[in-house]
Amino acid sequence: MSLAHPDAYEPASSLAARLTGAAETARALAADRSALAGMVIVTLLILAAAAAPLLAPYDPNAQDLALRLAPPGAAHWLGTDELGRDVLSRLLAGSRITLAVVALIALTVPAAGLAVGCLAGFAGGIVDAVLMRIADVFLAFPRLILALALVAAMGPGLSHALIAIALAAWPPYARLARAETMAIRERDFIAAARLSGASPARLLLLHIAPLCLPSLIVRASLDMAGVILTAAGLGFLGLGVAPPQAEWGAMIAAGRRFMLDQWWVAAAPGVAIAVATLGFNLLGEGLRDVLDPRQR
């Protein structure tokens, strides 16, 4: 089954070949129902966050004390919170925070982990030992505890929360990249590149690192669910953004007091967190099914 492609279509350029490959991956991903659901959820999250100012029916910080704790209805689809602020609008505003956290972590942490892991796996010896021991230190702490400690030391605020989450999240990527690098570096095509005169830097950047990407991408998608929860957890404890800025975790904390009678105040952000987490999980699993077997 090695000749999976009929001669009918022959890519005419390197770009065409890459696009065809990407299109096939997308098609395989879409064929998987749960992965498709995940993609849809994540896409909606991105759209909601991007268009939040346009979509929100009210100003998220506008208080209307006369209408405080109003149940969901025609005027306020998800009701109002204890200060009369529209829950839906705050939910949309909060999605921006969540998405900002996810995007910033997803763009920086796997890249940092990849760099450290590839270097450790390729160099071996003392470099490997030192880098991995550093990773072990950060890995030893439960993520939320480490984030708490760091935020407590640095003070509350979104940027501090981000740094805390990032520092706790990078070691697994480094380990993953290191393991992949150690396996790849023994393969014949690396030997062939060496024989062609490739320098170690070239080998790492152009030959080895690209092969580590699929498993890191999968890991990142699955990880984002945990990142969302950690960020919400920090917000819940009041260590994330400062009030009155809307943030899902902080909204749950505020809504705790009214959970029995005015359930919507805490339930809306709770469900939002659950759905967002689910979306990333489904997407991550779908990506794993699609990306991993290809490598073999």
Binding site: A12, S13, A192, L195, S196, G197, L211
Partner: protein, 247 residues
Amino acid sequence: MIEARDLSARLGGRAVVDRVSFTIEPGASFGIIGESGSGKSTLLRAIAGLVPSAGGTLAWEGGAMTALGARERGRKLQLVFQDPYGSLHPRHTVERALAEPALIHGLGDIARRVAAALDAVGLGARLRFRYPHQLSGGQRQRVAIARALMLEPRLLLLDEPTSALDVLAQAELIALLQRLRAERGVAYLLVSHDLAVVAQLVDAVAVMQEGRIVERLAVAALRAGEAHHPHTLSLIEASLGYRRRAG
């Protein structure tokens, strides 16, 4: 052109290549035959510098091979690996894989060189942007040979190049290798367990057993079965195929 004297190599503590000596003149072709585990693949890798040698000398045109850096060595000799599935980067197109040696050495006119290399191994230019998983085993092996020829080496090391191919692809590859040698005058050092394949491509062979060379003979003698060492004789016997027991 290349001379090895008492070359040794170790793998995981064991002496896999044990004081091997041979000489190859420019344009000549030399075969090394032996069973799996006899050390012949490791010998090739040691010559290519992929495995450190544990003793002995390797000389290229009189000078020590170690004096040449990895880059220079790549212009003198190249290696074609046994497993066509493993010797090409899975995420690089054929074009990219062939361009790599030229890019590293700063050779210009890449597109033309790649097209010429593909042509030399009998692959059409339309395969240029395929990925390895879109090629058959025989095609991959041809790409590997094309890549090895990009830097125009004087010596081509071939590690069981046809073992992973079916009988038809093997015949085609043998024909290709014969043609390339005639056209380019490149020397071959071919390693294989298949005597019939080796006999098609080289003029002289050395027989390796457990890391040592136990006999050297010309191919004509090999074909005629005129060998002296018992191991050689058993290899010749095995290559004649299976004779079924009566009844």
